[in-house]
Protein backbone atom coordinates (compact mmCIF):
# COMPACT_ATOMS: atom_id res chain seq x y z
CA UNK A 1 0.00 0.00 0.00
CA UNK A 2 1.37 3.37 -0.98
CA UNK A 3 2.56 5.61 1.82
CA UNK A 4 2.36 8.72 -0.31
CA UNK A 5 -0.37 11.18 0.55
CA UNK A 6 -3.15 11.19 -2.02
CA UNK A 7 -4.48 14.47 -3.33
CA UNK A 8 -8.12 13.63 -2.65
CA UNK A 9 -9.60 14.90 0.60
CA UNK A 10 -10.95 12.69 3.36
CA UNK A 11 -14.36 14.25 2.76
CA UNK A 12 -14.34 13.13 -0.87
CA UNK A 13 -13.42 9.62 0.16
CA UNK A 14 -16.31 9.58 2.61
CA UNK A 15 -18.70 10.75 -0.08
CA UNK A 16 -17.54 8.12 -2.50
CA UNK A 17 -17.64 5.51 0.24
CA UNK A 18 -21.23 6.30 1.14
CA UNK A 19 -22.09 6.22 -2.55
CA UNK A 20 -20.56 2.74 -2.79
CA UNK A 21 -22.41 1.67 0.31
CA UNK A 22 -25.70 2.83 -1.21
CA UNK A 23 -25.05 0.60 -4.22
CA UNK A 24 -24.88 -2.53 -2.15
CA UNK A 25 -28.16 -4.37 -1.93
CA UNK A 26 -30.01 -4.25 1.38
CA UNK A 27 -28.90 -7.74 2.37
CA UNK A 28 -25.26 -6.77 2.22
CA UNK A 29 -25.71 -3.36 3.75
CA UNK A 30 -26.88 -4.53 7.17
CA UNK A 31 -23.62 -4.25 9.08
CA UNK A 32 -22.03 -1.59 6.97
CA UNK A 33 -23.06 1.61 8.73
CA UNK A 34 -19.78 2.25 10.53
CA UNK A 35 -17.14 0.23 8.77
CA UNK A 36 -13.72 1.06 7.49
CA UNK A 37 -13.15 1.90 3.85
CA UNK A 38 -11.21 -1.31 3.40
CA UNK A 39 -14.12 -3.43 4.68
CA UNK A 40 -16.44 -1.58 2.32
CA UNK A 41 -14.08 -2.23 -0.58
CA UNK A 42 -13.98 -5.94 0.27
CA UNK A 43 -17.77 -6.10 0.39
CA UNK A 44 -17.97 -4.23 -2.93
CA UNK A 45 -15.55 -6.71 -4.52
CA UNK A 46 -17.58 -9.61 -3.21
CA UNK A 47 -20.75 -8.07 -4.62
CA UNK A 48 -19.22 -7.50 -8.07
CA UNK A 49 -18.01 -11.10 -8.12
CA UNK A 50 -21.49 -12.34 -7.31
CA UNK A 51 -22.94 -10.19 -10.12
CA UNK A 52 -20.41 -11.70 -12.55
CA UNK A 53 -21.47 -15.17 -11.42
CA UNK A 54 -25.11 -14.26 -11.97
CA UNK A 55 -24.42 -13.12 -15.53
CA UNK A 56 -22.60 -16.39 -16.14
CA UNK A 57 -25.41 -18.47 -14.64
CA UNK A 58 -28.19 -16.58 -16.42
CA UNK A 59 -26.32 -16.92 -19.73
CA UNK A 60 -26.31 -20.69 -19.30
CA UNK A 61 -29.99 -20.69 -18.44
CA UNK A 62 -30.84 -18.58 -21.47
CA UNK A 63 -28.83 -20.98 -23.59
CA UNK A 64 -30.82 -23.89 -22.17
CA UNK A 65 -34.07 -22.08 -22.84
CA UNK A 66 -33.05 -21.55 -26.44
CA UNK A 67 -32.29 -25.20 -26.94
CA UNK A 68 -35.60 -26.37 -25.49
CA UNK A 69 -37.59 -24.03 -27.68
CA UNK A 70 -39.55 -26.10 -30.16
CA UNK A 71 -40.59 -24.24 -33.25
CA UNK A 72 -44.33 -24.73 -32.84
CA UNK A 73 -44.83 -24.27 -29.10
CA UNK A 74 -46.79 -21.21 -27.89
CA UNK A 75 -43.75 -20.35 -25.79
CA UNK A 76 -41.57 -20.15 -28.89
CA UNK A 77 -44.17 -17.96 -30.56
CA UNK A 78 -44.09 -15.49 -27.67
CA UNK A 79 -40.30 -15.40 -27.60
CA UNK A 80 -40.23 -14.95 -31.35
CA UNK A 81 -42.54 -11.98 -31.13
CA UNK A 82 -40.35 -10.42 -28.42
CA UNK A 83 -37.18 -10.97 -30.43
CA UNK A 84 -38.82 -9.81 -33.63
CA UNK A 85 -37.21 -12.62 -35.59
Amino acid sequence: MSSRRSRITGKEINELASKLRSLLPESRRRNMSRVSASKLLKETCSYIKSLHREVDDLSSRLSDLMSTMETDSPQAEIIRSILGS
Partner: protein, 147 residues
Amino acid sequence: MDSENSACGNPNPNPTLGPSKLMLAFRFLRALSLVHRTTPASSRTCRGRRIERAAYASMAYSAGTGRGWSRAVLRRLHHRARRRAVAPRRLSTTAGNRAEALRQLVPGGAGMDYCTLLEETADYIKCLSMQVELMQGIVDSSSSYGP
Protein backbone atom coordinates in the same frame (compact mmCIF):
# COMPACT_ATOMS: atom_id res chain seq x y z
CA MET B 1 -15.92 -8.21 -35.45
CA ASP B 2 -18.19 -10.48 -33.46
CA SER B 3 -21.70 -10.79 -34.76
CA GLU B 4 -23.11 -10.23 -31.32
CA ASN B 5 -21.19 -6.97 -31.05
CA SER B 6 -22.47 -5.64 -34.34
CA ALA B 7 -26.01 -6.52 -33.29
CA CYS B 8 -25.71 -4.10 -30.40
CA GLY B 9 -25.68 -1.05 -32.68
CA ASN B 10 -23.97 2.26 -32.11
CA PRO B 11 -22.80 3.35 -28.65
CA ASN B 12 -25.19 5.37 -26.51
CA PRO B 13 -25.06 9.03 -27.60
CA ASN B 14 -26.22 10.26 -24.19
CA PRO B 15 -23.92 8.70 -21.63
CA THR B 16 -24.62 11.38 -19.03
CA LEU B 17 -28.26 10.32 -18.83
CA GLY B 18 -27.25 6.78 -18.07
CA PRO B 19 -28.42 3.79 -20.08
CA SER B 20 -32.16 3.50 -20.37
CA LYS B 21 -33.53 0.10 -19.44
CA LEU B 22 -35.45 -0.02 -22.68
CA MET B 23 -32.36 0.55 -24.82
CA LEU B 24 -30.51 -2.05 -22.81
CA ALA B 25 -33.32 -4.54 -23.31
CA PHE B 26 -33.57 -3.79 -27.01
CA ARG B 27 -29.86 -4.23 -27.64
CA PHE B 28 -29.61 -7.40 -25.60
CA LEU B 29 -32.67 -9.03 -27.13
CA ARG B 30 -31.45 -8.20 -30.61
CA ALA B 31 -28.10 -9.80 -29.82
CA LEU B 32 -29.86 -12.82 -28.29
CA SER B 33 -31.89 -13.22 -31.43
CA LEU B 34 -28.73 -13.22 -33.49
CA VAL B 35 -27.08 -15.79 -31.26
CA HIS B 36 -30.14 -17.99 -31.56
CA ARG B 37 -30.15 -17.78 -35.34
CA THR B 38 -26.45 -18.30 -35.85
CA THR B 39 -25.37 -20.82 -33.22
CA PRO B 40 -25.91 -24.51 -34.00
CA ALA B 41 -28.21 -26.19 -31.51
CA SER B 42 -25.58 -28.75 -30.62
CA SER B 43 -23.06 -26.37 -29.10
CA ARG B 44 -24.74 -25.51 -25.80
CA THR B 45 -21.64 -24.26 -23.99
CA CYS B 46 -20.55 -22.21 -26.97
CA ARG B 47 -23.95 -20.57 -27.10
CA GLY B 48 -23.84 -19.87 -23.36
CA ARG B 49 -20.51 -18.10 -23.82
CA ARG B 50 -21.84 -16.11 -26.80
CA ILE B 51 -24.84 -15.04 -24.74
CA GLU B 52 -22.52 -13.94 -21.95
CA ARG B 53 -20.46 -11.88 -24.39
CA ALA B 54 -23.67 -10.39 -25.78
CA ALA B 55 -24.63 -9.40 -22.24
CA TYR B 56 -21.38 -7.51 -21.62
CA ALA B 57 -21.43 -6.03 -25.11
CA SER B 58 -24.93 -4.62 -24.85
CA MET B 59 -24.16 -3.39 -21.34
CA ALA B 60 -21.07 -1.54 -22.56
CA TYR B 61 -22.74 -0.14 -25.70
CA SER B 62 -25.62 1.15 -23.63
CA ALA B 63 -23.26 2.85 -21.20
CA GLY B 64 -21.50 4.56 -24.09
CA THR B 65 -17.85 5.47 -24.53
CA GLY B 66 -17.89 8.11 -21.80
CA ARG B 67 -17.04 5.52 -19.17
CA GLY B 68 -13.64 3.95 -18.61
CA TRP B 69 -15.12 0.55 -17.79
CA SER B 70 -17.31 0.42 -20.91
CA ARG B 71 -14.41 1.39 -23.16
CA ALA B 72 -12.34 -1.35 -21.54
CA VAL B 73 -15.09 -3.93 -22.06
CA LEU B 74 -15.48 -2.98 -25.73
CA ARG B 75 -11.70 -3.10 -26.26
CA ARG B 76 -11.56 -6.54 -24.68
CA LEU B 77 -14.46 -7.84 -26.76
CA HIS B 78 -13.08 -6.51 -30.01
CA HIS B 79 -9.67 -8.02 -29.42
CA ARG B 80 -11.00 -11.31 -28.06
CA ALA B 81 -7.81 -11.78 -26.10
CA ARG B 82 -9.18 -14.54 -23.95
CA ARG B 83 -6.34 -16.96 -24.51
CA ARG B 84 -3.73 -14.45 -23.45
CA ALA B 85 -2.74 -14.43 -19.79
CA VAL B 86 -3.76 -11.25 -17.99
CA ALA B 87 -2.92 -8.31 -20.23
CA PRO B 88 0.00 -6.13 -19.03
CA ARG B 89 -1.36 -3.62 -16.57
CA ARG B 90 -0.31 -0.03 -16.20
CA LEU B 91 -0.38 0.52 -12.47
CA SER B 92 -1.28 4.01 -11.37
CA THR B 93 1.59 5.72 -9.58
CA THR B 94 -0.18 8.67 -7.98
CA ALA B 95 -2.56 6.61 -5.86
CA GLY B 96 -0.28 3.61 -5.54
CA ASN B 97 -1.86 0.20 -5.74
CA ARG B 98 -4.75 0.93 -3.45
CA ALA B 99 -7.79 -1.30 -3.90
CA GLU B 100 -5.89 -3.82 -6.00
CA ALA B 101 -8.65 -6.41 -5.81
CA LEU B 102 -11.22 -3.90 -7.01
CA ARG B 103 -8.99 -2.88 -9.91
CA GLN B 104 -9.01 -6.43 -11.15
CA LEU B 105 -12.78 -6.65 -11.05
CA VAL B 106 -13.72 -3.38 -12.70
CA PRO B 107 -12.80 -3.34 -16.41
CA GLY B 108 -10.05 -0.84 -17.06
CA GLY B 109 -9.53 -0.41 -13.35
CA ALA B 110 -5.79 -1.01 -13.42
CA GLY B 111 -4.87 2.34 -14.97
CA MET B 112 -7.26 4.55 -13.02
CA ASP B 113 -6.56 6.88 -10.13
CA TYR B 114 -8.32 5.99 -6.91
CA CYS B 115 -11.09 8.60 -7.18
CA THR B 116 -11.95 7.64 -10.75
CA LEU B 117 -11.87 3.98 -9.79
CA LEU B 118 -14.53 4.48 -7.14
CA GLU B 119 -16.74 6.47 -9.51
CA GLU B 120 -16.34 3.88 -12.25
CA THR B 121 -17.12 1.14 -9.75
CA ALA B 122 -20.38 2.82 -8.84
CA ASP B 123 -21.42 3.12 -12.47
CA TYR B 124 -20.27 -0.41 -13.30
CA ILE B 125 -22.28 -1.89 -10.44
CA LYS B 126 -25.38 0.03 -11.52
CA CYS B 127 -25.13 -1.23 -15.11
CA LEU B 128 -24.24 -4.78 -14.08
CA SER B 129 -27.22 -5.11 -11.80
CA MET B 130 -29.49 -3.67 -14.51
CA GLN B 131 -28.18 -6.28 -16.93
CA VAL B 132 -28.73 -9.07 -14.39
CA GLU B 133 -32.26 -7.80 -13.74
CA LEU B 134 -32.94 -7.82 -17.47
CA MET B 135 -31.64 -11.35 -17.98
CA GLN B 136 -33.56 -12.63 -14.96
CA GLY B 137 -36.70 -11.02 -16.36
CA ILE B 138 -36.27 -12.77 -19.70
CA VAL B 139 -35.69 -16.12 -18.01
CA ASP B 140 -38.72 -15.61 -15.76
CA SER B 141 -41.08 -14.63 -18.55
CA SER B 142 -39.90 -17.49 -20.74
CA SER B 143 -40.29 -20.00 -17.93
CA SER B 144 -43.75 -18.92 -16.88
CA TYR B 145 -45.19 -20.12 -20.17
CA GLY B 146 -43.62 -23.54 -19.82
CA PRO B 147 -45.43 -26.83 -19.16
